[in-house]
Symmetry: C2
């Protein structure tokens, strides 16, 4: 069991990581609650909702099971959840629990942030990727024209991360989550980066995963404590996301896992960085690791103009110019404003480099 | 010209009150902006949008004109505004201006709070009532099952209040706004309360209105500085609102002005307070003033059970028990938890007292 503390601008909260935490969450409640509402998706419900509801048996607990997948992070489900909250009679002293991956965490977190102007909530991440989404208080839903365009900064009361739940993840979700761990390592820590690149995702000892997740969370926690509202260094966490988000939008949300798209974006960021800083970065090594672990590198389809247009919808842009996170070296991120011409040319040289053996 | 400063938890901002402010707002901008987006309603657009856009002629300014009325504070218009924001290419460095009454302020404020996790916005109130809604950072939209159930705390970058715009308000809106001024006076200041009750709303010198508005804002500002998130004394500002909100929901949003409903709620609060504290409050005097000024006191229709059910949807309730703001005396508010039986009996005795001459 590991415990980390985060100081958000509104309050401090703990992140508890270990095996079987789902059966002990009530030990960590910091307030008394009039009622509890667990939001989860259909896959997670089958596996872990029963355990969680049992743990909550002393409380007045409601639950809602949503379809799994990125499409659920929509204004329609948001609205439906609001209606349910009112129907359940939830008040300002209710607690919401987001049990699931980043989709449930982001959506349920945004419901918590805006139901009656904000109620308490707890993140119970059940995917590797959600080590990232559950920490730092970013919550959001998608708009048909762009991901996460509607949302808030709203810190949870706690993050309870049960490593046992990760056993049921399929390969795609493991890949997806590991891409964000690679990202965190790339922006801050060459040693962890090297440790990840020596693992094979098909054969992962749980203790190693917990180690990687703990480092990832530590990196993320440090960054968001220093820049909660993303005015400065928090932007480094967007490494790989300029192209990643564009690709997700282009292919249709859900047809590629978030982290799979980010993985391609990370490789692109290395490619651009090598050229901008006229340096050598571990592009080939990362490409190889991604291939070995079956990341769908062939998914980068669509002509450059279409992809560029999607990139320009990104929230991080300033005055319609793309802001990209690049690496001067591993552990040394930097933000660069890019011209459209450069982006187009990097995209096409990147595509060529992807198909080269 | 009067200027007040408010310290919100996230930042400080000014409230500027005076004649012709709509032509000078750019003097008060605290940041440089990539673009500006003015949101207003059809009535206000006809009267004042031209002036504001002219003032913004050096900026890249967009505008959106919405239908007037409480129905506009809906998730559908919220969603439509998000789509427009994206279509206009607004980024995190854009400024949103809410030009209008409380409906525009609440809706546009909630858009600002949640577009890309929050962009800067400015309140330009154009109704008397909006002296209340524009200060304090509460923003929200309605849900079909209850008012303001979806929202945030999100402070503006400034409030620019042009007294000249109030000249075009009709009687109903003047009544509506004055109800909140009466409320603020009742919870904190007997002298202002007496000053208001000696004015006739049909014949209001602008200088007197400005004075009342400034006192109202001062009272509100003091309260929200001490309790921004409404955990304590900010609840006093809900005096009159338990019944007021229920009545609005019961009659259908928009069929009675917010402040008109609150006025009936204020009278009800005096009625309940007299009985609970076994004391005499200026019930009859307020009733008379409301009658003289044509407040629709006859609108309290519907059987007690229906009204009670609506009251129980209120955000301020705890565990399904109604929390009501009462007055031990003028200037001395207090929160009481009420039983359903008591509420039903107070409602019926209040109705009898309303029809008595
Ligand atoms: N808020 C943030 O800071 C932040 C950061 C990164 C990503 N995100 C968001 O996170 C989302 C992606 O998160 P995700 O990858 O966890 O997606 P997800 O929530 O859709 O989960 C992926 C799939 O795994 C299933 N699943 C979840 N837990 C499982 C378990 N223990 N066993 C078996 N199956 C399980 C889910 O049902 C789903 O089908 C995206 O919407 C992204 O925008 C947010
Ligand atoms: N956020 C808060 O703290 C808070 C506090 C109190 C009330 N409110 C909200 O405020 C809303 C009511 O505000 P409102 O009464 O200003 O309603 P409103 O915005 O609907 O304005 C009332 C009417 O006056 C018109 N109008 C506005 N300015 C005008 C002008 N200068 N001249 C002529 N006509 C003008 C509008 O078009 C509208 O028809 C409610 O939704 C209520 O919930 C919010
Ligand atoms: Zn991500
Ligand atoms: Zn009000």
């Amino acid at each position: 069991m590991e415990e980390l503390n985060i100081q958000a601008s509104t309050h401090a909260y703990s992140i508890v990581i270990g095996e079987g935490i789902r059966n002990q969450i009530t030990d960590y409640f910091t307030n008394s609650y009039s009622s509890i509402w667990v939001i989860t998706d259909e896959n997670v419900a089958k596996l872990y909702l029963g355990d969680v509801l049992e743990t909550l048996s002393d409380f007045h607990a409601h639950h809602t099971i949503l379809p799994a997948g990125e499409q659920t992070k929509s204004i329609d489900y948001y609205n439906q959840l609001m209606t349910e909250a009112i129907a359940y009679g939830l008040d300002r002293h209710s607690l919401l629990i987001a049990l699931g991956g980043g989709v449930i965490g982001d959506l349920a977190g945004f419901v918590a942030a805006t139901y009656m102007r904000g109620i308490d909530y707890i993140q119970m991440p059940t995917t590797i990727l959600a080590h990232d989404s559950s920490v730092g208080g970013k919550v959001a839903i998608n708009h048909p024209l762009g991901k996460n365009l509607i949302g808030s900064f709203y810190a949870p009361q706690g993050v309870f991360y049960d490593m046992e739940t990760l056993i049921t993840l399929n390969d795609r979700e493991i890949r997806s989550g590991y891409a964000e761990l690679v990202k965190e390592a790339l922006i801050s820590d060459e040693a962890i980066y090297r440790s990840i690149l020596t693992t094979n995702l098909q054969n992962l000892p749980p203790s190693i995963t917990q180690e990687h997740i703990c480092s990832g969370i530590q990196i993320k926690a440090q960054v968001v404590e220093q820049d909660e509202k993303e005015n400065g260094m928090r932007q480094y966490l967007n490494l790989g996301h300029t192209l990643g988000h564009a690709l997700e939008a282009h292919l249709g949300y859900g047809s590629i896992a978030h982290g799979e798209a980010v993985a391609i974006g990370l490789l692109f960021a290395l490619h651009v960085s090598e050229s901008v800083f006229d340096t050598t970065l571990p592009f080939l090594q990362l490409k190889q690791w991604l291939e070995t672990n079956h990341y769908p590198l062939h998914s980068l389809t669509g002509d450059q103009q279409t992809i560029l247009a999607k990139m320009k919808n990104d929230k991080k842009n300033k005055q319609h110019r793309i802001q990209m996170v690049l690496l001067e070296q591993v552990g040394k991120p930097i933000i660069k404003q890019m011209t459209d011409e450069d982006m187009l040319s990097y995209l096409s040289s990147f595509k060529r480099k992807l198909v080269n053996k």
